[in-house]
């Protein structure tokens, strides 16, 4: 049994969710990795260093830039006959590409797995994490996305894989990348941060998220938000933590002015330590919090910033 894992990469190397996907794949046997993009020699070198990866397949062509679903899925489909499992992380790229690959293979994708039971059997969340379904696939080649928060990522260094170029593939020309508008931030990405601080509807407006910033700076934290805060227009959608946003599992998660809707809990309940700050003592968030502080956030946040300055 050999798996192929689609790796996402940036200037910093192989992205953490992809390293979690590699970790999941190592439970299934030999692992090969796919690096696709334009001018990807550095990323290919980084992929070859991942422990557990035996071979890196490198597709270096302008058409693969920006990880567009149409060309990348055609590429993976061409490579698929050599593999029993095709995997990617459950990210915007993985979710976009992998079901398309599955359709080419006449397979039902297995989305967002949280556990590998055996080669055919996996556990995945349904109903925003309110149920954990154990599912068995009858497809010959399994197409899988991996919930990064459920698998400890393999380290960035320590392996020594061989690399080989991908075969040339006839690619569709019906889609074109125009532009990207990525939020500029000095802070870590939500899914990779050791500490995450999220604001909810209780923040009242987008300006008040500034109260979170000094604390995030002090703790090296990423800033997130509940769906309610996103829906209200306080912050962009890429801040959203929850079943319809990002799934995070940091060492410390601080929920500020978040009531704790099920959909939000689904995105953060695997965090190691959860802190809730909310003036409503009855808020459901307190039922999952390790430490709860019943206090108005507008007094608690400045106090917290000041307290962290001490030490």
């Amino acid at each position: 049994m050999t798996s192929l894992v689609l790796l996402e990469h940036d200037a910093g190397g192989i992205k953490q969710p992809s390293r979690s996907a590699v970790a999941a794949a190592t439970k299934l046997g030999e692992v090969h990795a796919l690096i696709a993009g334009a001018n990807v020699s550095a990323a290919a070198a980084a992929a070859a260093k991942l422990p557990g990866v035996a071979k890196v397949i490198v597709a270096d062509a302008p058409e693969y830039d920006h990880a567009m679903a149409e060309p990348i899925s055609a590429l993976i489909f061409a490579l698929a006959p050599n593999y029993t499992h095709l995997l990617a992380a459950t990210t915007a790229v993985g979710k976009n590409v992998m079901p398309r690959v599955a359709a080419f293979l006449d397979a039902q994708p297995i989305s967002d797995i949280a556990e590998v039971i055996d080669a055919d059997t996996f556990v995945r969340p349904i109903y925003a994490g309110n149920g954990m379904a154990t599912v068995k696939s009858s497809d010959k080649i399994k197409v899988i996305t991996v919930r990064a928060a459920s698998f400890d990522p393999v380290p960035a260094e320590g392996g020594s894989a061989t690399t080989e170029p991908a075969p040339a593939v006839d690619l569709p020309k019906n889609s074109k990348f125009i532009s990207a508008e990525l939020s500029k931030s000095e802070r870590p990405e939500l899914t990779a941060a050791r500490v995450v601080i999220s604001g909810g509807r209780g923040m009242q407006n987008g300006d008040n998220f500034k109260l979170i910033e000094p604390i995030a700076d002090k703790l090296g934290a990423a800033v997130g938000a509940s769906r309610a805060a996103v829906d209200a227009g306080f912050v962009p959608n890429d801040y959203q933590v929850g079943q319809t946003g990002k799934i995070v599992a940091p060492e410390l998660y601080v929920a500020v002015g978040i009531s704790g809707a099920i959909q939000h809990l689904a995105g953060m309940k695997d965090s190691k330590v959860i802190v809730a700050i909310n003036k409503d003592e009855e808020a459901p968030i307190f039922q999952v919090a390790d430490y709860g502080l019943v206090q108005d956030l507008f007094t608690a946040l400045p106090e917290l910033a000041a307290e962290l300055e001490k030490s």
Binding site: P99, R100, A103, P109, Y127, L182, K272, I274, A300
Partner: protein, 249 residues
Amino acid sequence: MKILVPVKRVVDYNVKVRVKSDGTGIETAGVKMSMNPFDEIAVEEAVRLKEKGVATEIIAVSMGVPQCSETIRTALAMGADRGILVESDVELQPLAVAKLLKAIAEKEQPKLIILGKQAIDDDMSATGQMLAAFLGWPQGTFASKITIEGDGITVTREVDGGLETVALTLPAIVTTDLRLNEPRYASLPNIMKARKKPIENMKPADLGVDPAPRLTVLKVAEPPKRQAGKKVGSVAELVDKLRNEAKVI
């Protein structure tokens, strides 16, 4: 241009779902059912395109138990023109749904198919992408803005870390993210009018599709529960606990 909008009947998003005690699934008996919220956004977007004069006809499709016709009626009340119901006693997984939709698309020849980015029951987030593959069409998933011009559609997508804009040639698939629009409530007169709009019934066999599921659910379990921790009395106490007890800062 014709627009196809698939709509799924799911447990209402306000319902607190419970795992059945025998571990065979989620309790759905006597539970309120509604249109999948992302599909409402899809219907709304199609209706807006019709109001702008871009779309000429909107076809709402639903699949599964006979009561899915209610979900179609909701779409018709929002402004869709007619419905197609594919009735099936077999559980339909995204692969089968995408194959059925492909057969319908080949018959109806829409220029655009708008779907929700995921259903809030199985959380697969797969049908739109699979349908695009079956039809050989490009896809603009997780859309927060779409603009149609001539033979093309520009889609702004919600991606990790921000937004991405892609240009696709029509016909194309779009899947909706939260901020594409805010769906309207159907007015009473429109609900009445929707009763007269036609819904065509068919079966998977009529479309030449074998709907057999490929994933067998062996069991459904409750997620691991977290224990509620302790309340702290002050910010100073919180920081002290995080430093000296949890040791996370």
